[in-house]
Symmetry: C2
DNA sequence: AGATCACTTGCAACAGTGTTGCACAATAGC
DNA sequence: GCTATTGTGCAACACTGTTGCAAGTGATCT
């Protein structure tokens, strides 16, 4: 496991440091988009705020994670599809559950082409759907 | 014109104050989503930051304006469709031009139904398309 | 027009978010 | 192990957004 993480860093020519490894581990473990604050909390102050900001920024630049916007602000989630510095999957579909509050990526749905008025040229599309996720939708058993 | 604005406030049982009237005037004049900072600047410090925050919050609650999220943060735009405190148009399509930087609402396009995996229940959809707007797309004449 | 009362505003203070510069520390490659 | 390069922690700062409170203003009634 830790080997996989180290490898991810190596592939993107990033040095293997404990902060990077742990941020990556947390984002892998939680299957949801996390904010800087949530990550900081999960790391229990073992790293400086600034270091975490820079780590996230680096990861976004390298295409390891991507930004997710919801009403509460900016979050970050792993890019599961093959993104790289040069080739980045530009259409993101995110789902925010209004019940449990988790925001996650929906991988296997594709955003249909949106008809735009004359003259508009679309380059990148990001879609946030709010509603109830399967876990919260299921009646208690 | 000012009469229309006053009327908008009255309809939503809000007191007619110069701050509210001017914020409304700016959002009506600019055909784009504006951030708190941009509105504050447009008002040339004639009102306190806090007052503007509260004005925007009130307008959102009354359904006069709605929030728009783009990569740079939160913006606000007029609700052109009939929104009210109780009935609110929940599907928003926004376009951010990466050339001129303006974010605006696209009124006449409808977001198609997005196929979601089993178990997800969609309540509200917001879509941000980034690209080139008609004004920037047109070759200089 | 003036009094009244609820609603608004401005100010002070604060918490959270994100950035930069710089000195020191750790890593990868030899 | 040594060294160059890359990361980290700290301090400081700017910006965003919120709250409590005292003072001011608008709408309503007489």
């Amino acid at each position: 496991m830790a080997e996989t993480l180290k490898n991810t860093l190596k592939v993107h020519s990033l040095r293997n440091t404990s902060c990077r490894e742990e941020v990556l581990a947390i984002l892998t473990r939680e299957n949801a988009a996390l904010s800087h604050g949530e990550i900081e909390k999960a790391l229990e102050n073992r790293f400086d705020r600034v270091t975490i900001y820079r780590t996230l920024k680096t990861f976004v630049e390298k295409g390891i994670i991507h930004k997710v916007l919801d009403e509460e602000g900016l979050r970050y989630a792993l890019c599961k599809e093959q993104c790289s510095e040069h080739r980045h999957q530009h259409d993101h579909l995110h789902f925010k559950c209004t019940s449990c509050g988790l925001t996650s990526c929906i991988e296997n749905s594709h955003i249909p082409a949106i008809p735009l008025p004359e003259g508009y040229e679309a380059l990148e599309t990001s879609l946030l759907i709010q509603g109830i996720c399967p876990a919260c939708n299921r009646p208690a058993q």
